[in-house]
């Protein structure tokens, strides 16, 4: 049996003086160092011997990492080191991006969210990441600092596989920006866990909808599904169905079925692949209906 209380293995803890120094160090120690944020994933994996790192580079104290800024012209920028609780209670987030606040509040426990960060959740690239769907559906773009300086990475092209992203050694995500949202929009994250609160998701359904007169249905729905594919999954066909014809109970059913047919979940300790597929359909129908009713009000 595994020792249930192994100590953390030996490693060095480093606070770099600047982003440049951090990127240089991380790039020149590619396999043995990584950026350290809230630690809520890293420390557990290190303890279990799954993340053999010689150096953890704490990038939280660097400039701008703990800022949240809302700009009425550009949208919301959240520094990579801002804990989820701070995001979820921030007045601008609650007012302009309530979907993000609601999704963040479904993550683990309050204590964990005092440390865990949105950008950490994204970089961890778990297919189950609870806040990823909100960021994806609302058009999130990451600011990344690498050895060549700053660049932008849209979230829609960020994930390559479980735990795998487009980031290369030396890259540090410094912030996520969400654009301004359409005037009439609404969203909801529906998480199915083994218990009501705190568990990892068996299936997670994010729906972000807005009124769009250029769509045949008058609405656009951005959808993201958690824990049903190797990466956070966007059921494109379901989105097209919801934009392409008048929204009725039948249209929503059809979209739900399309999403169910598109996902490729696995059997694991939290649920079977078959159960997950049905839950995708049922929860997507429920959640789209709920968001649509809010929009049509």
């Amino acid at each position: 049996m595994n020792n249930s209380h192994p100590a953390l293995p030996e490693f060095e803890y480093l606070i770099p003086a600047s982003l440049n120094e951090a990127s240089q160090f991380l790039a020149s120690h590619a396999t043995e160092a990584r950026p350290f944020m809230g630690g809520t994933d890293c420390l557990v994996r290190m303890r279990d011997g799954l993340l053999p790192m010689k150096t953890m580079v704490d990038v939280k104290p660097l400039e701008g990492m703990k800022d949240i800024k809302f700009d009425a012209a550009k949208g919301l920028t959240i520094g990579a080191a801002v804990p989820m609780n701070t995001v979820a209670r921030h007045p601008d987030v609650r007012k302009h991006y309530p979907l993000l606040a609601q999704a963040a509040e479904t993550v683990a426990s309050y204590q964990l969210r005092s440390r865990a960060t949105i950008c950490g959740n994204i970089c961890n690239a778990s297919p189950a990441g609870d806040t990823i769907g909100a960021c994806l559906t609302m058009g999130g773009v990451l600011t990344v600092h690498g050895v060549g300086g700053f660049r932008q990475e849209p979230l829609s092209k960020f994930f390559l596989g479980p735990g795998k992203t487009v980031l290369i050694p030396g890259d540090i995500v410094t912030a996520i920006t969400l654009p301004l949202l359409p005037n009439k929009s609404a969203g909801k994250y529906r998480k199915l866990g083994r218990n009501t609160l705190s568990d990892l998701s068996i299936v997670g359904v994010t729906v972000f909808g807005y009124v769009d007169t250029t769509a045949a249905s008058g609405f656009r729905f951005r959808l993201a599904l958690a824990s049903v594919a190797p990466v956070p999954f966007v059921p494109v066909k379901a989105e097209e169905i919801l934009a392409g014809k008048a929204i009725t109970a039948e249209t929503i059913q059809e979209a739900g079925q399309a999403a169910m047919d598109a996902v490729t979940p696995i059997d694991d300790v939290r649920g079977s692949a078959r159960y997950r597929k049905y839950m995708v359909r049922n929860l997507l129908i429920e959640t789209v209906t709920e968001v649509w009713k809010q929009l049509a009000r």
């Binding site: 060095e12 804990p83 964990l112």
Partner: protein, 157 residues
């Protein structure tokens, strides 16, 4: 492995501690400062037995490196009582019978204190949600929830 000299405030007292890189805040409190009220349960951020207040917010101290705590203000269960007077949440945990084996109690007291600090009058759902990261295998939670309500009531008087 490198050591880090950190200065922090624990329960109102300034402390200077030398800690190795891989020492968690939990281990530092228990092994360097002999504050053994904070318990090691799962060491994976799941059970909440190690909850302490860090800069006013509850955290799982098993998920924080001691080296990160330079300049931090930490409150452990030993710091809840002041001037030989128990905190109302401590009084009410006794009164409501919210303690059985006691292992989860320090973490629950800190989490509940943090809840009452940010929401002096929580309803049942809010109390349950706030305590979701604190597992208790003895009480069945009802008396703990009752204790939080009683403490909120006592503080409102």
């Amino acid at each position: 492995m490198g050591y880090h000299r950190i200065l922090l405030t624990v329960n109102g007292t300034k402390e200077q501690v030398d800690v190795p890189s891989n020492m968690t805040l939990l281990r530092m409190l228990r092994e360097k400062l002999a504050l053994t009220g904070t318990k090691n349960g799962c060491a994976a951020g799941e059970c909440g037995a190690c909850t302490v207040m860090m800069n006013g917010e509850p955290v799982n101290s098993c998920m924080v490196l001691a080296a990160e705590c330079d300049g931090a203000e930490i409150i452990t269960v030993e710091g809840l009582a002041k001037d030989h007077q128990l905190d109302p949440i401590q009084e009410m945990m006794m009164e409501a019978g919210g303690v059985q084996c006691g292992f989860c109690t320090p973490g629950i007291l800190i989490t509940a204190r943090a809840l009452l600090n940010r929401n002096p009058n929580p309803n049942d759902a809010e109390i349950r949600e706030a305590l979701v990261g604190n597992l208790c295998r003895c009480t069945g939670y009802f008396r703990i929830i009752d204790a939080v309500k009683k403490a909120a009531h006592a503080e409102a008087r």
